[in-house]
Subunit: 221 residues, 2 copies
Amino acid sequence: MSSSNQSVASQLRKLIEDGHYPQGERLGEEAVAEQLGISRTPVRLAFRTLEQEGLLKRAGKRGFMVREFTDADVHCAVEVRGVLEGLAARRLAEHGMSSQQREEFDFWIQKGREVLDKGHLVEEDIQRWIELNWNFHELIVCSAGSGVIADAISRNNHLPFAAAASIVIDKGKLSHEYRKLQLAQLHHELIFQSLVNGEGARVEMLMREHALIGIRYSELL
Amino acid sequence: MSSSNQSVASQLRKLIEDGHYPQGERLGEEAVAEQLGISRTPVRLAFRTLEQEGLLKRAGKRGFMVREFTDADVHCAVEVRGVLEGLAARRLAEHGMSSQQREEFDFWIQKGREVLDKGHLVEEDIQRWIELNWNFHELIVCSAGSGVIADAISRNNHLPFAAAASIVIDKGKLSHEYRKLQLAQLHHELIFQSLVNGEGARVEMLMREHALIGIRYSELL
DNA sequence: GGCCTTTACTTTGGATCCAAAACTAATAAA
DNA sequence: TTTATTAGTTTTGGATCCAAAGTAAAGGCC
């Protein structure tokens, strides 16, 4: 919020993720600027940022358009996220965790158990669990040291998350969601165990699997 | 070159990669604009692009500074590149190659052999081989379908390539370079074989190994 | 003599203005 | 009727202007 052009990028990201701008839609600087009640300059800056994130695509000199995703693209984006997080997890396992990091992992895993232990899920619980899951991923990435990986992931993160969000939250299928979250929670615990034991290869594989859960499961339905 | 702000980003990238702007140096919009003989606007746009690429880093409201890399960062960046290219290669192996792609791989591998078959290297040959190597990587990435991976790699590519370039080209060590290139060529041929055989897991591992050759080898010296 | 405050300068962020390129539409010719 | 050329409109890219925030330096106060 501090510098407005970051804020503009966030707003546009949200508008795109919420489907307010349909895929393939051409975005004019003037139109967007007017909608947001600002001038063209910060919009132009935000367009460059969103282009790098893969949400917008250049259309020659006709400006930018919202990128179109096929199902294959979504799957692919999740795989990219998976290998990057897998790499982060492996490095974390190889370099060892601090006791503080260990406690943090324990904390989030415990929170996840609390949500699932109720034996059923309502929409609110799912939202809560998605937050927990997100924190777990964040923790893996941030703990892996060397900001290079964290940067790489954050650069590639908006795209799969935006694209996959609509798949994951399927409000008609709460019981399916419950089983999926059970699976994810199991993964969290396995990953944590392997991290503690320093099993680099295993934790990398688990983390890659973990990133794919949402997609794999939705394929089964 | 078409739109100038892309061109500005390229110029700045090159200046940073060539070490013209030392790491940690603060870049003022006004100063850079004057150096390039243009106004601040395209520089501001280029700064956002380079920030997303990880070459520049925000310094609060004091503008941007050239990012500083430790040896660990470089190693990490190469690993990121490795897992992404590994993913691309695996997908290519799983989806199978067209006969045209097969011919292209054959072509570049043959070119590599021709350089190495001379039994020694001069500086010019190294430059040539680096180009060939680059083409091989490009081919893997572009052949893997779904532009999502190609985008992810290209977003993460400037950083490791910039950081590692100074390590790879060590002009005093031509004989070492020769052995390194022999190793890389061997990898190319193994990768190609595994691609033809559709051995997804193996080609992924080889590709990851391959990305690390430069770093691994320089550790031995 | 050191520290706090105030003021002036530097620099980024946002808005507006101008030029250039591209798309559109209309008119004229084949 | 169709096509090509040209004029007009729309839109992006670049330059300049203004405001706001931050820094640094100088001067006053404890």
